[in-house]
Symmetry: C2
Subunit: 329 residues, 2 copies
DNA sequence: CTGTTAGCGCCTTCAT
DNA sequence: ATGAAGGCGCTAACAG
C-alpha cells in the first residue's frame, strides 16, 4: 500500500526530500549509511514514488499507447501480445485502445492517448494515407504497423504482396488457373497490397484469371460469399484472411463441396486455429507476435534516442496444409 | 498537437489561469461571452488540459488496470475486449498487463499498475486465495474475475460447476459412464470448481466414473494427452477448455479414432473457433465478453461511489455440436 | 554530500 | 464573476 509520500519518509528518516529522492533514484552521491537508513525507512513504510508525480516532472510516463482496430481479430491479438510482452520486459506499460473498426476515431484516439503516454504504436490499416501522414507528426514518437513506409515514423510490416505471390505460385503449381479472391469489404493498406500482387500475377501470366469477390474480414462474411465463390467457377479461392477462409470452408463444405478435391481454399495470417480446421488450412503465416515485438523495439529505440530502422519488413511464410490440392479435371 | 499549456491560453485570451480552467471544466460561473472567447482561443491553439497534471491534482487518472494471465488465451481476450469496449464507452482508458502465467508476479503487477490507475480488474485464476485476500485491500478499488466471492472486492464469475454439470448430464444422457477429465496442469480456481462438480456428479451417480488426466491449457497439451485418454478406455472426455479439446481432437483423429463414434469430446469456454473444428465441438460457452463488460460495470460503480453488487455469476450455456454422440456399444 | 528552492501543469479554495 | 495563491508528489538545479 504505497500510501506513504516522500515527505513522510523524509521526516521519518530525518532527512530532506531531496535525499530520499536521490536514494530512491539510485543517485550515488548519497552517504552510504544515510542511504541505507532511508532505504530501510522506505521499505518499512512501503514507500514507492508516485508515478503520476514523477511523470509530470520527468515528462515521461513509462507507458505507451497501442491502438488497434479490433481486439477480436487473432492477428491483432498476437501483435498486441508480442508488443506487450516486449514492452513489459523493458519496464514499460501498455495502454490499449480498440477502435472497433471505426476509422473516424483512430486519429482522435491516437491523439488522446498520446497525451498520457510516451508514444503511440498505431495499427490502423484503413486510415487514409493522407490522414495518417497528417496525424503522425502530431503524435510523435509513433510507430506504424502494417502500412507502407511513412515520412514521420518507423514502420513494421508484413510483406503482403510477396505472401500473396507465394500463395498464387502454390496454387498455380497445383494447376489452378481460375482463382477467386475474397477481398476485405473495406479498402485497407494490406488489402491494396494483396490486390496489387494479384494484378501483377495476372499480368505476368495471361493464363491466370482472378475474380474478385467483395467480402468482409470475419467468419460470417466468409460464409456469406460461399454462393458467389461457387458461382464464380473458380477452382481455388484466396480468402482475405483465415477467418474468412474458415467461414467459407465451413459453408461450402455444408453444401457438399469437397475441399480440396473440388475447391482449394487458402487463408491468410496463419492464426493458430487454421491448423485445426478440417481440412487444415493452407495459409500465409504472418509473424504477428514478431511484428508486435519489433514495433516495440522501434518505439524503444525512438524513446531512447537511438536511431531506429525506418522500415522493417517481414515475409509471411507459406504454410501448405490440406485445404489446397490439384485443380479438378 | 496539444502543445499549448493553460498559461498560453490564458495569456492569449487575456484572462487568468483559473478562468481558463473553469471554462474547460464546464464551470458555469463564468461570463458567457468570456467563456466563449476562451473556448475559441483554446480551440485555435488546440489546447487540451494535460491529463497527467490533472491526474495529479484530481487524484484520478481515468484509467483502470486490467491484469490477465495470458493474452494468448481466447477467453481472456474476449474478457479484455468486452471490458475495454465498456470502459471506453465510459471514457476510461485501459492499462493492460499480461502476467504470462507467472503467478508470482501477479500481486506485484497489480500493485504497480494500481499506482498509475484508478483501480484494478484482476483475472488471476491461480493466485492462491490467501495471497489474493491479502492483496485486495491494498489495491482497492478492485474487481475480481472468475474467482469465488471475495471479502474486499466485487466478483464477476462464470459458474463452472453448473456448466460442468450440464456437460456431464449431456454425456450421461448419451449413455457415457466412463469419463476422462483432462484437468489443467495447474490448480486454478475454475479448475477446482470443475473438479468439485465432477466429484459431486460421481457421488450422485455411482455408475459414473471419472478418470482425471493431468494436462495443460493449450493445443499442445491437448494433443499430448491423447494416448492417456485412449488408454483410459473412457468413452467421453471433458477437456479443460476448448483449446485442449481441439488439440486432443486433432491428435486422436490422427490416430484413426473417430469422434464422436468412438470417443466423444467436450470442450469448455465456447471460443468462436470451437464451431469450426471437425467435428464441431460440444462445449460450455462462457460469456467472456459479458464477464468483461460486467467487471467494468462493477468497477465503474466502485469508482462512482455507487454500491455495486458484490458477486455476479454467469451460467455458461451448453452448446451441443457434433463432437459428442451416443456411447459406443 | 545534503538541504533549500523552483517548478512540472493544472485545479481549487479564498479573497475580491 | 474573476484573479491570486497554494498545493498534488516529486525531481532537479542551486546553494551551502
Amino acid at each position: 500500500m504505497p500510501r506513504a509520500k516522500i515527505t513522510e519518509v523524509a521526516r521519518e528518516a530525518g532527512v530532506s526530500l531531496s535525499t530520499v529522492s536521490r536514494v530512491m533514484n539510485g543517485n550515488q552521491s548519497v552517504d552510504a549509511a544515510l542511504a541505507e537508513r532511508v532505504r530501510e525507512v522506505a521499505a518499512r513504510l512501503g514507500y514507492t514514488a508516485n508515478p503520476l508525480a514523477r511523470s509530470l516532472v520527468l515528462g515521461r510516463t513509462q507507458t505507451i499507447s497501442v491502438v488497434i482496430p479490433d481486439l477480436a481479430n487473432p492477428t491483432f491479438q498476437a501483435i498486441l501480445r508480442g508488443l506487450s510482452h516486449a514492452a513489459a520486459k523493458d519496464g514499460y506499460h501498455v495502454l490499449i485502445s480498440d477502435t472497433e473498426e471505426r476509422v473516424e476515431h483512430e486519429s482522435e484516439v491516437a491523439t488522446t492517448t498520446r497525451q498520457r503516454t510516451d508514444g503511440v504504436i498505431l495499427c490502423a490499416p484503413r486510415l487514409p494515407q493522407d490522414e495518417l501522414a497528417a496525424l503522425l507528426p502530431t503524435i510523435a514518437p509513433a510507430v506504424v504497423i502494417n502500412r507502407g513506409p511513412q515520412e514521420n515514423a518507423p514502420t513494421v510490416a508484413a510483406d503482403y504482396g510477396t505472401a500473396i505471390m507465394a500463395l498464387i505460385d502454390h496454387l498455380r503449381g497445383l494447376g489452378h488457373r481460375r482463382l477467386a479472391f475474397v477481398s476485405g469489404a473495406v479498402s485497407s493498406a494490406s488489402g491494396e497490397a494483396r490486390r496489387r500482387a494479384l494484378a501483377a500475377a495476372c499480368d505476368a501470366d495471361p493464363g491466370l484469371e482472378v475474380i474478385e469477390i467483395p467480402g468482409g474480414v470475419d467468419f460470417d462474411s466468409g460464409a456469406a460469399v460461399a454462393s458467389a465463390v461457387i458461382d464464380s467457377a473458380a477452382t481455388a479461392v484466396l480468402a482475405f484472411n483465415d477467418l474468412v477462409a474458415m467461414g467459407l470452408l465451413s459453408a461450402v463444405s455444408a453444401r457438399g463441396i469437397r475441399v480440396p478435391e473440388q475447391l482449394s481454399i487458402v487463408g491468410f495470417d496463419g492464426i493458430p486455429f487454421a491448423a485445426y480446421t478440417s481440412p487444415p488450412l493452407t495459409t500465409a503465416a504472418v509473424p504477428a507476435a514478431d511484428l508486435g515485438r519489433n514495433a516495440w523495439a522501434a518505439m524503444h529505440a525512438l524513446l531512447s534516442g537511438a536511431d531506429p530502422v525506418a522500415t522493417e519488413t517481414f515475409i509471411p511464410e507459406l504454410v501448405v496444409r490440406e485445404s489446397t490440392g490439384p485443380a479438378p479435371r
